[in-house]
Amino acid sequence: MIPDLDYAFYVWTSYGLFALVMAWQFLQPRLRRRQILAELREERALRTGGYDDANS
Amino acid sequence: MRILLEAKQATFSRAGEAVFRPVDLGLSGGEALVVRGANGSGKTTLLRLLAGILRPASGEVTRHAPVAFLGHHAAVKGDLSCRENLEFKRRFSASASGLSDSRALARVGLAGLGLRPARSLSAGQKRRLGLACLLVAPTAVWLLDEPYASLDDEGCALVDELLSEHVGRDGAAVLSTHQRQPRIGDGRHRTLHIEGRERLE
């Protein structure tokens, strides 16, 4: 399945770094969004006095 | 009387929100306008806008005469002496018609302190030096931001006197204040109340 390459270490490290960077670029905005939404929920709770949201 | 300073629906916005309601004003020689408003209502911003330091986010501000602006800071260099500061002011404004350094210093009550570095002056004395800068380089329009701040009673009276003289010479002035009621000339000055962002909502 996985091709047997010469210079395998260098090649696979490169591709691995690629995967890491892409994954981080994908995840970072989503994690940040979750955090912002959580903060907004807290702010709303502060305003309304409770966590009345059905979905939370 | 010729209009010296004009604003049409001018306002400034910070972080995308207008700082105060759009302002309309026209000021001709011999007039004074007192800007009143609570802390944070945008008095300083309005004056900076009129001075040209800020550009209006909407509307326009037109200046038909040279203006001078005296802000929270007196715009003097602490490492230079009072006289050197005045000399710079005169050269910077390229004016020859103002009071001499000595007379300006005497007029604002700083006689004898001319060679002191401005750094060593008290807050009130610094404000007085700022007023002296207005005298050595005369301009038609004065924009004074809280001119009474940190001045003693005598100093406040001095500001009133200088303003009266300036208006009497057909100059125009805009000043902001939140406490003292200015006494300019025979007491005829207009008042502009501005409302800040909080009041807008």
Binding site: - | A51, G52, R63, F69, G71, H72, D79
Partner: protein
């Protein structure tokens, strides 16, 4: 009017620089600390020193101009004299920006240029290369001031500008450093330095035309 303002500002800036006598000497002290410390580090061999001399003098000039950058506009912002440049909306602040950068160059660049022959002697730079070194400093140090002024204006609105300042300046001075030291090295090896100096002049022209514009725009944003 504009010229009167520019001369007034230049007079005041130079007067202030003289008043801080010690601080005005900083670029020179810096230059000579580098010139003295590096031989102590790499050894006194004339050949080695001669080969690294152009780079060392230039890096020292660069760091010397960085030293004063933090103070280029900040004191004026804090005491309210900077916003006076825009009052009235008539006098072109760009001219005042150029004046301020010129005085920065007079205070940080010119002393380095004047003392470069001495430094070159101490580092055994071949005397044939000395005119080229002087010329490269004369053309290149104004670029350092212009670029540094831009970085200083950009970081003006931040609380702690100094680290950021060096990060911003570093990419912008790479071409200057390369062409200037290239010129001196070429001259030291007996080649013509005209191509390098020509490119350095092109950089200077580019910096003179564009940097003040960007600096003025950045200052304007930062006083708002």
């Amino acid at each position: 009017m504009t010229v009167a303002r520019m001369t007034a500002l230049l007079r005041r800036d130079l007067r202030l620089a003289l008043r801080h006598g010690g601080e005005s000497l900083m670029p020179l002290i810096f230059l000579f600390s580098v010139i003295i410390l590096v031989p102590l580090g790499v050894g006194p061999g004339p050949n080695l020193l001669a080969s690294i001399a152009p780079g060392m003098i230039w890096v020292a000039a660069l760091l010397a101009s960085l030293l004063a950058l933090e103070q280029l506009f900040r004191p004026d912002l804090e005491d309210g004299t900077l916003e006076q440049w825009w009052v009235g909306g008539t006098a072109p602040p760009g001219a005042l920006v150029v004046t301020r950068l010129f005085s920065h160059w007079l205070v940080t660049g010119v002393p380095v240029i004047l003392f470069a022959p001495l430094a070159a002697q101490m580092l055994y730079l071949p005397s044939d290369a000395l005119p080229t070194l002087m010329l490269s400093l004369l053309i290149g140090t104004p670029v350092l001031s212009l670029v540094g002024g831009l970085a200083s204006a950009l970081t003006l609105g931040t609380n702690r500008g100094s680290v950021l300042l060096s990060i911003l300046v570093f990419p912008m001075v790479v071409p200057v450093l390369i062409f200037a030291t290239g010129a001196v090295t070429a001259a030291a090896e007996g080649f013509s330095a005209r191509a390098h100096l020509g490119l350095l002049t092109a950089l200077l022209i580019l910096a003179v035309t564009l940097a003040p514009l960007a600096t003025t725009a950045a200052l304007r944003l930062n006083i708002e």
